[in-house]
């Protein structure tokens, strides 16, 4: 990485870096079902998450900072999700949007549905709902931005095992 993962940056520098990162989240929408429509609604004029610095429709995972999994992940699709997540550059964040991607949702006993994307990739924020309203996604993004704002990249990379507990947005 460079310097940021070797030394703890002085507080003012860290603040500026984190401030820059939290307000330019290029987002990669992994839309798998109806929740993707809510995601698109959140990106459009009424809710407009670009005003929060979330830039939709990154050209590909290699240009993205934030992955939003919105919809039903099946066991057959899971390797593709894992691969796209692995292609994203660090530091990267994941929002699990909707019941299906949180835990399988209404398909919890299906033979083909993965019971939550957290079985495949680490999740930072869970947004519950079936589907959640766009406001819930905005809330999840704000919570994630709060966390990024106070994050220490040194801790993130050196103590990779000590990931903070994921945030669960209240329904």
């Amino acid at each position: 990485m460079g310097l940021v993962d070797k030394v703890e940056l002085p507080q003012p520098i860290k603040f500026v870096f984190n401030w820059g990162r939290r307000y330019s989240l290029w987002v990669f929408n992994f839309g798998l079902a109806c929740c993707a429509i809510e995601f698109i609604a959140t990106s459009m004029a009424r809710h407009d998450f670009i005003r929060l610095g979330v830039i939709p429709f990154a050209h590909g995972p290699r240009q993205a900072d934030l992955l939003v999994v919105s919809g039903t992940l099946t066991d057959k699709m899971a390797p593709a999700l894992k691969r796209l997540y692995d292609e994203m550059p660090e530091p990267k964040y994941v929002i699990s949007f909707g019941s299906c991607s949180n835990c399988g949702g209404p398909y919890w006993d299906s033979y083909s549905v993965t019971k939550g994307v957290d079985q495949i990739i680490p999740v930072d924020v869970y947004v519950p709902g079936c589907p959640p309203r766009p406001e819930a996604l905005l809330h999840g993004i704000l919570e994630l931005q709060k966390r990024i704002g106070s994050e220490s990249l040194k801790q993130r990379y050196i103590d990779a095992g000590s990931r903070p507990e994921p945030i669960v947005v209240d329904a």
Partner: protein
């Protein structure tokens, strides 16, 4: 042709091979697996039947009786539906393909094959359609155990019978 006239025509043409029943104005023709292909060909090519439009093909787990297979076809010229049914044994059940008569049946037969474990002989491209390649078992059979439900019983109301 209405369902009664269709019934008369089929019985005249095919005799004892078919058991026609009219339910909800839909003609359901039950045949033995050995007659599946012959009757399907007749539905497709007989100018009086002219079932040129494939609607769907699927399976039903009939438990002790075996696995049901049903084929719905429609005649765009004569505007009638026909349902063709048969029952194959649970183990080693197989049927001749009809995907050369109706190209639309191709994917439906693959789906029925992987979900119920019925072989369609002569299918141009057998193999899994929707399930992952490494999937073991036939998930739409009644005896297929849903692992999640083994761990946690159904939490809602009793399922409708």
């Amino acid at each position: 042709m209405d369902a009664a006239a269709l019934t008369d025509h089929l019985v005249a043409e095919l005799g004892d091979a078919v058991i026609p029943v009219v339910e909800h104005d839909l003609l359901t023709v039950t045949v033995a697996p050995g007659d599946w292909r012959r009757v399907a060909e007749r539905l497709r090519t007989d100018p009086n039947l002219g079932c040129d439009y494939f609607e769907f093909l699927s399976g039903v787990d009939e438990e002790a009786e075996g696995l049901g297979v049903l084929l719905h076809v429609y005649s765009t010229g004569r505007r009638h539906h026909v349902q063709l049914r048969t029952i194959v044994p649970r183990e080693g059940g197989s049927l001749p393909t009809v995907s050369d008569l109706w190209f639309g049946a191709n994917w439906h037969e693959r789906e029925t094959a992987e979900l119920f474990g019925i072989e369609f002989e002569g299918h141009p491209n057998p193999g899994k359609l929707l399930l992952p390649e490494e999937f073991v078992g036939y998930p739409l059979r009644k005896e297929f155990a849903l692992l999640t439900r083994e761990a946690k019983p159904w939490p809602g109301a009793k399922e409708p019978e």
